[in-house]
Symmetry: C2
Subunit: 143 residues, 2 copies
DNA sequence: TTCTCAATTTAGAATAATTCCAATTACAAC
DNA sequence: GTTGTAATTGGAATTATTCTAAATTGAGAA
């Protein structure tokens, strides 16, 4: 597969916001860019620090507002683990997460369609899942 | 299998606490009993209300302390969903959760050993999971 | 272009779950 | 019974997030 161009991502951003009657402001755009540039599941605080490199006067309230808007527009996923601060992820494909207990680093584990079907087979009859949340934790020994 | 008697559960409770050099106090015992009596994943606030039927002067701080102790002793699991208050569950067998979006009710989905192995097969090599957290949400249509 | 006005941003206050703290109480061992 | 540590308690503190009300922005109307 080809990776998305900056332009096609920009178009997707504009489109999804306009679809909901919302404005593609520079704050929203910058928050979204920050998430695309380093896909490490930052918290709102970390997003604030990164966005301020471009928009030094943006407020934390606005970062929270923008993140909520991006989640509502299905441009970003909100990721919650235990009771730690929410993290944000621009990977919209169905995926699980792995948190390394040593480093705290979070990895995306992309899932194939058949793997998702396997997951849903865990449900007894009568249960109809629209969503799932799967997080592993342990140690990652990567090359 | 036979279900555990009240006595054998009492023994397990005493044993696990004593193993860690902790006292099986009436507050800890009562919090644990409340979780066993109605396995509906109550929050700390809900546990407080139930425990006060037996111990009217117990404090919320003590409920939090007791729940933390029970989790540390592997008598109870702490269950977190999104950013809602922590819930507590005495089911120690590996299981997933299903939250009905209509009623908010939470169901345990017990998993067989082979199903757990299936889950761990989702991990690429280099990832070693000690734990997993699997939560479905959707609508439950039960008989 | 200027005007208008709803949408957005902003700073700071408020909220809510949880943790911390310092004082009291309980209780096991001596 | 005294002592010493663990546990409980009420209230203060913490922290992530949401709310509020005022200022700013910017797209479309005039
Ligand atoms: Mn944060
Ligand atoms: Mn609660
Ligand atoms: Zn992710
Ligand atoms: Zn459970």
């Amino acid at each position: 597969m080809h990776s998305k161009t900056a332009d096609s991502l920009q178009n997707k951003f504009n489109q999804k916001l306009l679809d909901k009657g919302l404005r593609p402001t520079k704050q929203r755009s910058c928050v979204y860019d920050v998430l695309l540039q380093k896909k490490d599941h930052p918290t709102a605080d970390e997003v604030l620090v990164r966005v301020r490199k471009k928009l030094p006067s943006i407020s934390l309230a606005t970062v929270y507002n923008c993140l909520e808007t991006l989640v509502d527009c299905s441009l970003v996923k909100q990721v919650n683990m235990d009771r730690s601060p929410s993290k944000y992820c621009p990977n919209l494909t169905p995926h699980a997460h792995f948190r390394c207990s040593k480093t705290g680093r979070i990895y995306d584990l992309n899932l194939q369609e058949d793997e998702i079907n396997q997951l849903k087979e865990l449900l007894p009859s009568g249960f109809n899942a629209e969503n799932f949340d799967l997080t592993f934790s342990g140690s990652a020994n990567l090359p």
